[in-house]
């Protein structure tokens, strides 16, 4: 297993928001999804995942409800709020601009 890449804080928020944009997920599933989609490059540590979820919840971007997991266990499912959806759009735009800029620099320098 490769050493997990440190995620910049803002980036983790963006990834979480993106991951639950389409469906509501519990914490473990969010971590799994990020790992899966990034082909195991990004591993989300629980120590940063849960504080990040608390932070996003406080901001009012996500909201959580207790539900039943795929293993028939009680689990807390997170989903985007409408404010969160707007936030995601904005973060995505920011990110794309930033990464385009960085790629530009990397290619030409």
């Amino acid at each position: 297993m490769t050493k997990p890449t440190d995620l910049v804080q803002g980036t983790l928020d963006l990834l979480i928001l993106r991951t639950i944009a389409t469906e509501k997920l519990h914490g473990w599933a969010i971590a799994q999804r990020i790992q899966l989609l990034s082909k195991d490059v990004l591993q989300v540590n629980q120590g940063s995942l849960y504080p990040a979820l608390q932070r996003l919840e406080r901001q009012g971007w996500i909201t959580a409800d207790w539900g039943v997991s795929e293993t028939s266990r009680r689990a807390r499912f997170y989903r985007l709020t409408s404010a969160g959806r707007r936030r995601l759009e904005q973060e995505r735009a920011d990110w794309e601009r930033l990464s385009a800029a960085i790629s530009l620099v990397m290619r030409t320098a």
Partner: protein, 879 residues
């Protein structure tokens, strides 16, 4: 919407903090289980799966901790935890906590109580329209205040430039006979006022029910109308709304009730319960009648007090020229509030100054108490900073620890203030104006509370704030050998202690001066013998006894009836009892150096023949009055030895004469007797020589009946009242008191102030002692190694003790030096408050200073003694 959400989450997080934690724990338990299941699904054995899952997961507690910080309200929860920690510390060192709580509570309580009283009595605006435009006007003769005559008030009305309106009134006793069953109803005496009809509109007040007087109700024949006070209306007439228009019997005549005032109307005093129109007789307008009115006015818009004073004084000159009286007299114009509080102001100012000093001492003490504790924990602070605590966190915690003490102290302080104000109002002697206004004042409470709480917070936060700018090395260095870093703080602490001493000295000096005054007062000879005397007041009705002769005959019948009671030694009448205020009368005395028509103020009283014997006033020369000194006999008078001595030094006053002022008829009186000088106004004030008239020649309607008992016990009141009623069933009496009580009352306000001052200084003394003890004890712990070395090098125990005690005694000496400067200034300002004590009384200053230094020495010596007992072996090995 977003805002509401945030508020809701913060609320949820705080209110249900435990629930949120439990949720998180369960969520993470699920996470772990899910990870294990996933691992098993990937083909691991259950054990390996569990181990791998735990490995990736890390510490559950750490995650919980970080999540909690991310959660809303985290800072507040943090703080609540700190406060709880502070409360636990408090439980561990209760002496420290109790001292802090007591300091805050007493500081807030004492300061709020006194400030509230001062505010209620002296500062709170009068309950009238534009009260700062209202003034009281007096005649000024020989720099004393005399009541103006009606003519003066009428003349003042013409000064339209400076006075909008001028009104006048006089007090009157009203004898109310209820219309209950005949014979079964007690006549009741009311404190009333005869007022010019414009008084109410001048003050800007109107009746709560009905109306006040119309402008023409001061005409003879229309004046039988009355306005009642709220309390009387409630007590006597069951607060019935039909009272307006009803007729009641006052002084034997029927008066129609036209209105009832609101409960807030307490003018001229809270005792006044009925107002009737003042009818000015034509004779009064030519200034040939006595001066006996209280004159009030409203300043014209734009007019200032100095302008009004100037206008009134030049008017006084013109009046003197017109009527040929009051030559050289001026007028005094004072703001109504100042005038009402004139007599209590020196006392209240003293208490205000004293409690301010006490508050300063409490603040200083609190700051050294908290400061010492906070600096004792500097090492801990440094370690916590080094371990990564943020500086705001450290400061927040330092403050949070002080919060339980300050909060408890503040709550107790509010209670103490409430209780102290109530106690003060109850303990205040009769006659203090506006005492009914006094209540704990909110703003005052907030200020004194804020002052102490901020001091406490600042003192506890100071070391943490200091740590902000210093590094770990300097902060922990204090503990190191030969450190000098503590010196700055130690000097600061000594300055604080010195300042407490400096504030305490004036308090102690003031209290000592008042104690000496009180002792002096007990040695004052009142000039009469107060034991065994019962007194009661009454007023005769002119309707039933129209002429002076009728009144005097009635008095003689009353005296005879009371004298017949078994156990009565003698019965006397006087129109004003000694020690109950002055009764100034100007007379022209015929003595060798007198200028024509020169008036001298004397204190005059009308008495019955047996008055001197009853009161125990010794006859020095000549004779007393007899029943034959009546209207048909030559006019006679008795003077006191002081007047005799001043006017005819070295000669007999018998046969000399003086006469009434021009407006009173210029009749000559010859002196037939000289009596002992009596403290007429009060035990502590003695402004004027005295003159007595015979009650058959200078008859008064209001009298005090004094009854001397033949035995040790005073004569009971019941038989006296029954004897009076046997003469006249409708005669009301009031103010029954023993003469002893009157003597006590006359010094009651001084006693109260003295007790408060003693209390304040005792508190200041204790605080100063605690402060010094703290400084020395702290110094000893700081220098214990140094002392160890000194002892090892041969210093004796007493040398070490002296060295350690010096820290305290030197601060005390420096503070005392500054305090003496304060004290000398303050003692000078107490001129009006002391009796028989020089304004800068050396004995008081020395006594107070010695006492304080003695206490300071003891407080230094006790902890210093421990330093002397240092065992070098132990202290040096403890390194």
């Amino acid at each position: 919407m977003r805002l509401i959400h945030q508020i809701a989450t913060v609320f949820r997080a705080i209110a249900r903090s435990g629930r949120v934690d439990a949720d998180l724990a369960e969520e993470m338990r699920f996470h772990l289980e899910r990870e294990i299941q996933a691992n098993i699904a990937r083909g691991m054995s259950p054990d390996a799966a569990r181990r791998a899952a735990r490995l990736t997961f890390g510490s559950v507690d750490a995650v919980q901790e970080t999540s909690r910080d991310e959660r809303p309200g985290a800072a507040m929860r943090e703080w609540v935890r700190d406060v709880r920690f502070g409360a636990r510390l408090l439980r561990k060192s209760p002496a420290f906590g109790l001292t802090g709580v007591a300091l805050v509570a007493l500081g807030i309580g004492a300061a709020t109580a006194i400030f509230s009283v001062v505010y209620g009595v002296m500062l709170q605006p009068l309950p009238f329209r534009e009260p700062n435009r209202l003034v009281t006007i007096w005649l000024e003769r020989h720099s004393a205040r005399n009541y103006p005559a009606a003519a003066d008030a009428i003349a003042l009305r013409d000064l339209r430039d400076v006075f909008d309106d001028v009104s006048l009134f006089a007090n009157v006793n009203l004898n109310l006979v209820g219309d209950c069953a005949p014979g079964g109803c007690e006549p009741q005496r009311l404190e009333g006022a005869r007022v010019a009809p414009n008084l109410f509109s001048l003050l800007g007040v109107s009746a709560a029910l009905g109306r006040t007087f119309t402008a023409d109700e001061d005409q003879a024949g229309r004046e039988h109308v009355v306005v009642l006070g709220d309390a009387l209306w409630r007590a006597q007439f069951d607060a019935g709304p039909t009272i307006v228009g009803r007729q009641i019997r006052l002084n034997g005549s029927l008066y129609t009730v036209v209105g009832v005032m609101g409960p807030d109307f307490r003018y001229p005093s809270s005792d006044h319960q009925a107002w009737v129109p003042l009818v000015i007789r034509p004779a009064e307008l030519t200034r040939t009648e006595t001066e006996n009115y209280k004159v009030v006015a409203r300043l014209a818009p734009g007019a200032t007090l100095p302008e009004a004073r100037q206008a009134a004084t030049s008017l006084a000159k013109r009046l003197a020229a017109t009527y040929g009286v009051n030559v050289g007299a001026g007028m005094i114009v004072d703001s109504m509030l100042d005038d009402a509080t004139r007599e209590v102001r020196p006392f209240l100012t003293l208490l205000l100054a004293a409690v301010s000093f006490l508050l300063a001492i409490a603040c200083l003490n609190l700051s050294s108490l908290f400061g010492a504790r906070a600096s004792a924990r500097r090492g801990e602070l440094a370690v916590r900073l080094a371990l990564g605590a943020t500086r705001p966190r450290v400061i927040a915690q330092a403050i949070a620890e002080a919060v339980p003490i300050l909060a408890l102290g503040a709550v107790l302080g509010v209670a103490v203030a409430q209780w102290a104000v109530r106690l003060f109002v109850m303990g205040v002697p009769a006659g203090v104006p506006r005492i009914e206004n006094v209540a704990v004042s909110g703003p005052v409470l907030v200020v004194s509370l804020g002052l102490l709480v901020l001091t406490g917070l600042a003192a506890s936060a100071a070391p943490a704030v200091q740590a902000w700018s210093s590094d770990f090395a300097t902060m922990t260095k204090d503990g190191g050998r030969g450190s000098t870093a503590g010196r700055g703080r130690s000097i600061a602490r000594r300055v604080v202690v010195g300042a407490q001493i400096a504030f305490a000295i004036p308090l102690l000096v003031g209290a000592t001066m008042l104690i000496r005054s009180a002792i002096n007062l007990t040695h004052v000879d009142p000039g009469f013998r107060p034991a065994r005397i019962t007194t009661l007041k009454f007023e005769v009705s002119r309707n039933e006894h129209p002429s002076d002769r009728d009144v005097a005959d009635y008095y003689a019948r009353l005296v005879d009836a009371v004298h017949a009671i078994p156990g009565v030694a003698s019965v006397g009448l006087v129109n004003r009892i000694p020690l109950s205020g002055g009764q100034t009368n100007p007379v022209h005395i015929d003595h060798p150096t007198a200028r024509p028509d020169e008036l001298t103020n004397v204190d005059s009283r009308t008495v019955s023949p047996d008055y001197f014997e009853t009161m125990g006033i010794a006859l020095v020369a000549g004779r007393g009055f007899t029943e034959h000194d009546d209207a048909d006999a030559p006019l006679v008078a008795i003077v006191d030895e002081r007047l005799a001595r001043e006017m005819w030094p070295g000669e007999s006053a018998i046969g000399r004469r003086f006469r009434e002022p021009p407006w009173a008829g210029r009749r000559w009186f010859s002196i037939v007797g000289v009596v002992r000088h009596v403290r007429a106004v009060g035990l502590d004030v003695d402004p004027l020589p005295q003159v007595y008239w015979s009650y058959r020649q200078w008859t008064q309607d209001r009298m005090v009946l004094a009854v001397r008992s033949a035995t040790e016990a005073v004569v009971p009141v019941r038989p006296v009242i029954e004897a009076i009623r046997s003469v006249d069933a409708e005669q009301s009496v009031y103010d029954v008191q023993t003469m002893r009580r009157i003597v006590d009352e006359s010094v009651a306000s001084r006693r109260l102030v003295m007790r408060l001052m003693i209390g304040f200084s005792a508190l200041a003394l204790v605080l100063a002692a605690v402060g010094i003890y703290g400084v020395v004890a702290y110094g000893v712990t700081q220098r214990i190694r140094e002392f160890g070395v000194r002892v090892a090098l041969g210093a004796t125990a007493s040398e070490i003790t002296r060295l350690a005690a010096w820290q305290g005694t030197s601060s005390a000496l420096a503070g005392a030096a500054v305090g003496l400067v304060f004290a000398v200034g303050a003692a000078g300002a107490m001129r009006n408050l002391v009796f028989g004590v020089a304004p800068r009384d050396a004995i008081s200053i020395v006594c107070a200073t010695v006492l304080l230094l003695l206490v300071a020495f003891v407080a230094s010596y006790i902890p210093a003694k421990q330093a002397g007992a240092v065992d070098p072996g132990i202290t040096l090995r403890a390194e």
